[in-house]
Every structure is written in structure tokens, then in C-alpha cells.
Symmetry: C2
């Protein structure tokens, strides 16, 4: 499904944080798993932009490892700040979907 890209703003960062925390640690695979999950049109470039941002904001630790196939991989792991951010993201998300449900329920 082709979700309006504006609706994804803010969401994708949380999603990427979640994937990293779940053990999906490098860009290419994050893109792949998310696409399989239903974010069909997710651009590869988008994920890398987010990863660069996470690194710049010091939410992740990064290591380079050799890949079995292809070039070096960059492995990401959440640091404490990253974990806090992830929890905060879900808090905000829950708040939002609750409010949206309330809104919709009224009359």
C-alpha cells in the first residue's frame, strides 16, 4: 500500500529504532524487512538518511564488519539514549492512536 509519505514522517525513525533494537542491525536488511512487512515503497535512501541522523544524534553505536557477500556492513546498536528515545517514541505513538480513536468515536 502506498501510504502518503507525510503520514510516515516521525514514524519511520521510531520504526528503524525498533528494528535495530530487535537485532536487525544494518541498513540493507532494515530496508528489506520493513518492505516485507508492508512498507512496500520504502526507499533505500530513506533508511540510510535515518541511520545517518541517528548516528549524528548519538542514539546508536556503530561498527563495521566484513560481509559474506558484497561490501562492508555497518552494524548499529542502540545506546542508552537510543533506548530512551525508542521508549519515548512508543509512548507518543500510543498517545496518538488513543487520541485518534477518541476523535473518531465521537458521534
Amino acid at each position: 500500500m502506498r501510504i502518503s509519505t507525510e503520514l510516515l514522517k516521525g514514524v519511520l525513525e521510531g520504526v528503524v529504532l525498533h528494528q535495530i533494537d530487535a537485532g536487525i542491525n544494518y541498513g540493507y536488511e532494515i530496508t528489506k524487512t520493513l518492505r516485507e512487512l508492508g512498507f512496500d515503497d520504502l526507499a533505500e535512501g530513506t533508511v540510510y538518511t535515518i541511520l545517518v541522523r541517528l548516528e549524528k544524534n548519538e542514539l546508536v553505536n556503530v561498527e563495521k564488519h566484513k560481509s559474506e557477500k558484497g561490501p562492508m556492513k555497518k552494524f548499529y546498536q542502540l545506546n542508552d539514549a537510543g533506548k530512551t528515545r525508542l521508549t519515548l517514541f512508543w509512548t507518543h505513538w500510543d498517545f496518538l492512536i488513543n487520541k485518534m480513536a477518541e476523535l473518531r468515536k465521537e458521534d
Copy 2:
């Protein structure tokens, strides 16, 4: 609650469409009701920006009416395109929250 503003992108347009459809037809009241509902920090300017956009994109019909207090009100109503957009918005929203739930569920 102070939600990250990025998380609201795309959402707010849908929310405003919904309010208009629900009979809350002018900017000032839309802002007010949404604030009461929990979008505390929603800026008045934001709502007007959205309304201007909706008008420009021909999703609403507009009429001016005298106000009991204060200056003229601009009354908004969804036209067919607006209603279609609103349905589409909820479709996207439902899709998104389902995917997010799936994502979260995995391990």
C-alpha cells in the same frame, strides 16, 4: 502531552478533515476542540495553514458568515473530493497502525 511534531505530520490534515465532517466548521473552533481533546500544543497558525491548503486543493467549500462575536467566520464543508480524501486518510491510518502493531509484536 508534547508529541514530537514530526509525528503529527500528515495526521493533522486528516484530523482537521474529520472535524469539518463532524460539523466543526471553522478554524477557531477546530483549534479549540482539538486542544481540548489532547493536542494541547496545537498552534492556531497550524490549523489555518491546513485550512488554506485544503481550500487550495479543492477539498472543501467555503462560505463566510457573520459571527456573533468578533470578525467574520469562514465556514468549511467537505466536498466530494474532501470526503474521498478523508476515507483514504482513515484507510492509510488503519493500515499504518496495523503494521506498527505487527512490528511491535514480533519478538
